[in-house]
């Protein structure tokens, strides 16, 4: 047994060695082509007859345009057919394309049996991902396709190129060759940029027949709308989605569509129909809109009514502006009413009545203005202006009412502004009355006559000024005199001297010849008086102080100023006799005294003349 076993094994090995003679192959393949975007596919790199050792140094091609989802997975297979043995080694990768279009998978290479093998490049076509239609519950794919061919929803517009604000009629129609048990709107179209108004939506759908591509469909209108674009540009009406319940016959039937109507006990299938989106081109309104234009498009008429032509203050009037016609009536804004400024105006009350018959939106819109006149008079409300764009004429039209005239009389109702002061103090004050008139006329004066321009006033003004000036002049003179003391003394000298002499004269008259103590004292006084007057006079006149007095000095000064020697001599004798008398009073007699007095009197006058002339 041992020897035979060994020989069989050897045989097998020998056989295996003999297989080497066959050439190796290396190929790349994909499981499907084309591939949907987002779908996965398998790339297989197969080395045929690569020998038992398999391949070495597998070089992958550039796979940067794919996601490698899985791999490499290796699998080997060996076949012996009629003694010919073939083997294969497969590397498989699961890939997902990253982009659309034709993608090339380049060459891959591998070494086997000392030789290098390469694959040919592959081209993969990636198409737009078509995720497989979601299968309706219990509905096989083929049935969906079959229904789809026989049931669709269509959106139809009467115009696809309009002016802004122009009416478009949009109709959704269902075309069917199948029996519909029920339907419900799943999604209404989004009408961005439009104002939409439903028109005549029938409760029961009346079906008509229509032939398309040789097939006869039954057609029902699901929805009718009037659209008014509120902006310009290209606007899209998004699809409408309709959930339908379709009756189909049992699948066992040979041909389900032939016997729909004959077999009422069919199967109910849910099916969603969807219309195609529509594009509407909207042109903007032409330039040159009147100032009062507020976007009304269509054709309108206007009529204004005032409920009364005459009123009283604070009693309201109602002004009705009625706009009727076809067009975007719901979008109409209240026209401006230009009121006299003393009218109080409130925001208008708006009511509309819209008629949707015959697919045209028409109707009336009424603006009711409440106006309260606050002041009496004849008031004119300027014409109400309303502008619209006439689509048919392609031009703007301005409607204007006639002027409205209102007569306002003074009403009895108190105007509110009187109370508007509101504060408590104000009301208290209002309850008071004005104070009584002035009984005194308060000195009536001529207009434009002022106190300060009257002559009396000016005189009164000048009077104190005159006094001031007089005082000033007087004070100035007095002051200059006071400043000149020498001159003052000089001028006063004679007066003082004569005053002294008068006193001496009094003493002289009182003197008696009696030679007693009493009379000798009087005589002494007399001489003292004469002497003092003379000296005082000389001091003042010559401007010397009494301390500096001496007979000689004084006489010298006089002789300096006057050449009259006789005068100086008599002055000297007089002064000396006065001195003498004062020291020997008893020998004096009245006659001598009289002579002395007369001499003094004469001398002073002479001196005055002499010294003044100097």
């Amino acid at each position: 047994m041992g020897r035979r076993t060994v020989s069989i094994v050897l045989l097998v090995f020998l056989a295996a060695i003999s297989l080497k003679a066959q050439d190796a192959t290396f190929e790349a393949s994909v499981d499907r082509n084309p591939v949907g975007m987002g779908e996965q596919f398998t790339l297989s790199l197969t080395l045929g007859n690569g020998g038992m050792g398999g391949g070495k140094n597998l070089q992958l091609p550039d796979l940067s345009k794919f996601h490698i989802m899985a791999g490499p997975n290796q699998s080997t297979s060996m076949q012996i057919i009629n003694g010919a043995v073939s083997s294969s080694l497969t590397y498989s990768y699961v890939l997902q394309p990253k982009e659309m279009g034709k993608l090339t998978i380049g060459a891959a290479s591998i070494e086997a049996g000392g030789k290098k093998y390469t694959t040919a490049p592959l081209t993969i076509e990636v198409v737009k991902g078509s995720p497989r239609p979601k299968q309706q519950a219990n509905v096989p794919d083929d049935l969906n396709v079959q229904i789809g061919e026989n049931l669709f929803l269509k959106a139809v517009v009467d115009k696809s190129h309009v002016m802004q604000g122009e009416q478009i009629n949009l109709t959704f129609k269902i075309y069917t060759r199948v029996s519909i048990a029920n339907y419900a709107v799943n999604k209404n179209p989004a009408l961005t940029g439009f104002w939409g108004e439903d028109t005549e939506n029938p409760k029961n759908i009346a079906l008509t027949n229509e032939t398309i591509n040789g097939k006869q469909y039954r057609v029902g209108v699901i929805k009718r709308m009037a659209l008014f674009p509120t902006q310009s540009g290209t606007l899209e009406i998004s699809p409408m989605e309709l959930q339908t319940v379709v009756q189909v016959q049992s699948r066992r039937s040979a041909d389900p569509f032939d016997s729909f109507f004959s077999n009422p006990f069919g199967q109910n299938v849910n099916y969603m129909v969807k219309s195609e989106p529509l594009k509407i081109k909207v042109d903007p309104l032409p330039a040159g809109a009147p100032s009062g234009f507020k976007g009304a498009v269509g054709r309108f008429t206007m009529n204004t009514v005032v409920d009364k032509k005459s009123t009283r203050t604070n009693e309201p009037i109602s002004l009705k502006v009625n706009i009727a016609g076809t067009g975007n009536i719901k979008l109409l804004e209240s026209p401006e009413v230009d009121l006299p400024t003393d009218f109080e105006q409130y925001t208008p009350k708006v009511s509309d009545n819209i008629n949707r018959e015959e697919g045209r939106i028409s109707g009336t819109k009424t603006f009711e203005y409440l106006l309260i006149p606050r002041y009496p008079g004849r008031k004119v409300i300027k014409p109400v202006m309303f502008s619209y764009f006439d689509v048919a004429k392609r031009d703007y039209v301005t409607l204007r009412s006639s002027e409205i005239e209102v007569t306002v009389e003074q009403g009895t109702a108190q105007a509110t502004p009187l109370i508007a002061g509101g504060a408590r103090e104000d009301i208290q004050l209002l309850s008071q009355d004005i104070r009584f008139i002035k009984v005194s006329s308060g000195t009536l004066s001529r207009k434009g006559e002022y106190v300060h321009t009257s002559g009396t006033f000016i005189a009164l003004l000048l009077l104190p000024l005159g006094c001031l000036a007089g005082a000033f002049v007087y004070a100035r003179r007095r002051r200059s005199v006071m400043m000149d003391e020498i001159g003052y003394r000089n001028r006063k000298a004679i007066k003082l001297a004569q005053k002294g002499l008068r006193e001496a004269d009094v003493l002289l008259k009182g003197a008696t010849p009696a030679n007693d103590q009493q009379s000798s004292k009087q005589k002494l006084q007399f001489y003292a008086e004469i002497s003092r007057a003379l000296w005082k006079y000389l001091c003042d006149k010559l401007n010397i102080s009494q301390a500096d007095l001496s007979i000689d000095g004084t006489l010298a000064m006089i002789s300096q100023r006057s050449a009259n020697t006789e005068l100086t001599a008599s002055l000297k004798s007089l002064l000396e006799s006065c001195e003498m008398a004062r020291f020997a009073p008893t020998s004096l007699e009245v006659a001598t005294m009289r002579k002395t007095y007369e001499d003094a009197k004469r001398l002073i006058v002479e001196l005055e003349q002499t010294l003044n002339t100097k």
Binding site: A420, K438, V439, S441, K447, Y450, F457, P464, C467
Partner: protein, 252 residues
């Protein structure tokens, strides 16, 4: 000058002949009419005195009362304001003017001003032109008198006292002079007016086609800042500015 006086005297004589009463008698007569409730007659009587060229604070005040009683608040305010220029500190007048101002439609909130301006106005309102004239005159008299005394005074003490008193009276005289000049300039300016039209729309420019600025009702006091043809530019106490027709307002 003499001729003017003669003419004035003749005119005066003529008017006295025509009405055969002195202005004071006419005033008393008008007062009687007022007391009898004959407002229209009283108004005419007062107006006649005014038309003859006479005026006084009491006359304007009484006329304002007549208008107030007849419901013409704007005219009442106008006459009270005229009276105020002559007798600015009359208590009755201020009371009645305040009442009349409460009756007018527009409430104008004055913008806050520098306090010193309010003080100045208060001082100006405290004196009538006549009173400040005489006050200034007596202060002037005192000033001159004290100076005369100072000049003539022999003693140093007396002179010093006189100069001190003279300086004080001089300062007072200068202040009074300022007030007097201020009073004169306000009484000669004629730049305040009362809106007479029951309602008037103020424009942004002196043109009836111009845009509307705001609306005023009768009785509002406005300051005239400019004028063009038949239009005057006015400013309200709250700072609003607009143009109105000259005829819609009457200058105080």
């Amino acid at each position: 000058m003499n001729q003017n006086l003669i003419i004035a005297a003749l005119l005066l004589y003529g008017s006295m002949l025509a009405y055969s009463q002195t202005p004071d008698q006419a005033f008393d007569h008008a007062n009687q009419l007022y007391q009898q409730g004959k407002l229209a007659d009283a108004r005419d009587a007062y107006e006649v005195i005014l038309n003859n060229g006479y005026q006084s604070g009491a006359l304007y005040y009484n006329l304002g009362n007549v208008y107030y009683k007849s419901g013409n608040i704007a005219k009442a305010v106008l006459n009270y304001e005229r009276a105020r220029q002559l007798v600015p500190d009359d208590d009755d007048l201020l009371h009645n003017l305040q009442l009349a101002n409460l009756m007018i439609t527009d409430k104008v909130e004055p913008t806050p001003r520098l306090f010193i301006l309010d003080y100045w106005d208060g001082i100006m309102d405290a004196f009538s032109l006549k009173r400040i004239t005489w006050l200034a005159y007596f202060l002037f008299l005192a000033f001159v008198g004290f100076h005369t005394a100072a000049i003539l005074s022999r003693s140093y003490q007396g002179r010093r006292l006189s100069i001190l008193c003279g300086a004080v009276s001089g300062l007072l005289f200068i202040s009074a002079g300022f007030i007097f000049v201020g009073k004169m300039s306000t009484s000669n300016r004629h730049d305040t007016a009362i809106v007479m039209a029951s309602i008037t729309t103020l424009k942004n420019s002196p043109d009836s086609k111009s845009s509307d600025a705001f609306v005023l009702h009768s009785g509002v006091k406005v300051q005239i800042t400019d004028s063009v043809n038949d239009w005057i530019k006015i400013r309200l106490a709250d700072g609003k500015v607009g143009w109105m027709e000259r005829t819609a307002a009457e200058i105080i």
